[in-house]
Subunit: 402 residues, 2 copies
């Protein structure tokens, strides 16, 4: 159907560079002979490919590895030291910056409280985005400078935003931030004093899903990441790739409703903020700079057997299961990963959601979809933002010199 570009020898080489990098990422240090045996490439081809990768400082030789039979041979390992990428994550209350190197080591993780977001319905909608973009730019600038001072080439920087983000990096609509039609990529690229830095903007849940694939212990799985931090959004990896859709506006399950106008949506019924309201009567989440302490408080109450908190968690879990059945029915993922605040409450949400997921999925046993809690914490989207730049190298598109 699509993809009608002619192929040439460079494509073959890129594919095979990618095969070698993938092998080492999946299997750890390996000899050239082991790479050849496992990938089906000839030893001569592997030697040529690994030579290029060593020259580019993407691989290094790690000394001799003892084979059981025959001469010991030199093992090759992924080398992360030369290249890094940066992810920033924007929520209504907080900015997070994170950098990782090519081998997956975290180089920095910074948080900033943040008041630039102006939820839809508030008064000062216009003042918000400008201040927010300045704060994002300042943090991005500092992070990029720091990583460069460590002697690493920064391959790119991606900002994760909840809501609808167009491919060119314009935030079309972000209800949690109160933004619409903000050319975030353009403003960032124009303000950053980082010539040659590849700047991108992506959807929060979509980037978190990419992070789960690479760092969450689910390599090569079709998974869907679900976040309840800002509405309810899903990041969908389908058939091995992030589901992009025609304009990039995928995964918006929170909006779903069935019934007359004004019927509650899935986000009303299964979002984190409504959960906190139900679990902690009298507690106003809008007065908080950050939902995290409220979520921790809910967990504490649930652990102590508080009926109100347990009922709220059960109800939220049931509705969440109905919503996740949508994903199981439509997209049929192998794994649905409950992210950020959902993960912190997963021990109560998953037992309530699981039977509803099964009951509302046409396929027996939920079509094989398993429900898991994310282990990546609250900054999975920032990690995913960085990962997107490093993954490009994994496809065989080697970095050009800084």
């Amino acid at each position: 159907m699509k993809n009608t570009r002619p192929a040439d020898f460079a494509d073959v080489r890129a594919t095979n560079l990618s095969v070698v990098l993938h092998h080492l990422r999946a299997n750890g240090p390996s000899s050239r002979a082991a790479i050849a045996a496992s990938t089906g490439l000839t030893k001569a081809t592997v030697s040529s490919l690994t030579g290029t990768l060593i020259e580019q400082r993407l691989l290094r030789e790690t000394g001799l590895t003892g084979n059981r039979i025959g001469r010991p041979s030199t093992a090759l390992a992924l080398d992360g030291s030369a290249y890094a990428a940066i992810g920033l994550q924007v929520t209504a209350d907080r900015l997070t910056a994170l950098a990782v190197d090519f081998a997956g080591d975290q180089l920095l993780l910074w948080h900033r409280t943040f008041d630039g977001g102006t939820p839809v319905g508030s008064v000062a909608v216009t003042a918000g985005p400008g201040r927010a973009v300045s704060a994002i730019t300042a943090l991005a600038q500092r992070a990029a400078t720091r990583v460069r001072q460590q002697g690493r080439q920064v391959l790119g920087l991606t900002v994760a935003v909840p809501g609808l983000v167009e491919e060119g990096g314009t935030v079309r609509l972000s209800p949690p931030l109160g933004w619409s039609d903000i050319d975030l990529r353009g403003q960032l690229a124009g303000s950053l004093r980082q010539p040659g830095l590849d700047v991108a903007v992506g959807n929060h849940a979509g980037l978190a899903a990419v992070a789960e694939i690479r760092h969450g212990g689910h390599p090569d799985l079709d998974l869907t990441y679900v976040t309840g931090a800002a509405g309810v959004e899903a990041g969908i990896i389908a058939d091995g790739r992030p589901l992009h859709g025609s304009r990039g506006f995928t995964g918006q399950i929170g909006r779903f409703t069935l019934g007359p106008a004004g019927s509650p949506t899935l986000a009303d019924l299964a979002g984190i903020e409504p959960l906190v309201r139900r679990a902690l009567p009298g507690f106003d989440p809008e007065s908080l700079a950050d939902l995290t302490p409220a979520v921790e408080h809910v967990a504490l109450l649930a652990r102590s057997g508080d009926r109100t908190a347990l009922t709220a968690l059960h109800d939220t879990g049931c509705h969440l299961g109905q919503g996740l059945a949508l994903l199981a029915n439509l997209v049929n993922p192998e794994v649905i990963v409950l992210g950020d605040h959902y993960a912190a409450l997963a021990e109560w949400l998953i037992p309530a959601a699981t039977p509803e997921l099964a009951r509302n999925t046409l396929a027996p046993a939920s079509g094989g979809t398993r429900l898991l809690a994310s282990g990546l914490g609250l900054h999975a989207a920032a990690l995913g933002g960085a990962v997107t730049h490093l993954e490009r190298v994994d496809t065989g598109a080697l970095p050009s010199p800084a």
Copy 2:
């Protein structure tokens, strides 16, 4: 992520064969020079590729084409005569067989009434599938024999079934047919006296979507095909490829509900059979061998201004719009094609569905998703079943000799 197979020269050649075939399918007869100019391949490469394709009877020379300047040159066109594929479509009341050749010409279209399906809840569940499989086998056998008698090589045969179909061709669950765990592909391949015939089984809506891409006037679009004939199912083309999911169980939107157990599902609210029940009070669709006359009757009443029929169509359209918003929010297709019976009622359903689609989609203007009626009639899934085999040729996987 996935796809870590090494590449070699054969992959480059397959890709470039595919580029040439794609060019001719999109642009019609072209000279070698025009193909080279438009694809970026060298003239020598185009000559070699088209030589192979002519040898394989996939292209033919169509005589001289007048260039505006310079010597007239020979035009090449897709040649369909040597290769065909067959699609069968199974619904509870009818079998359809259809054959097309590589150029897209329809070679046969047969219908058989059919009583092998036993809806879930009926008594004789076990008797159904056996008789049904025999009827399918007999029709497939006749169609393949007929096409071969016309001197064509049959590249493959695919049976379209509503419900959940596993990749290996087992029907895991088909509520409209009352089937579960029927190894349809195995039984067919075992009974057909057609050695070497590639037999497959696929989901109805998914195959109809493939047909829409190739024959519905939407080439290279991300589209979703929605059928209401048997429950409500969606066939999703995402990022240029059918959305497969982990086990192939995608597109089951009819199951969706939000609310306490027993709440109506989308299929209850927006399916064709409930619509007929509401539009034609006192009329029992289960007594029918075929929904088509009932749907025609509803259209006739609506055209004459019948209030009951118009109200039923309006309500169904509104609920359908809410369901389609799911697709717009989650998958963000460029086009949603209303298929089969929905298409026959589209002039009433689309005006009711469109505002609900927009109201329930987070992205402004429904995220760009347009709502259209299919022009492929009631046998789009059979057509799609045939098309899947022909498309493999378009990817450069040329047929082996019969």
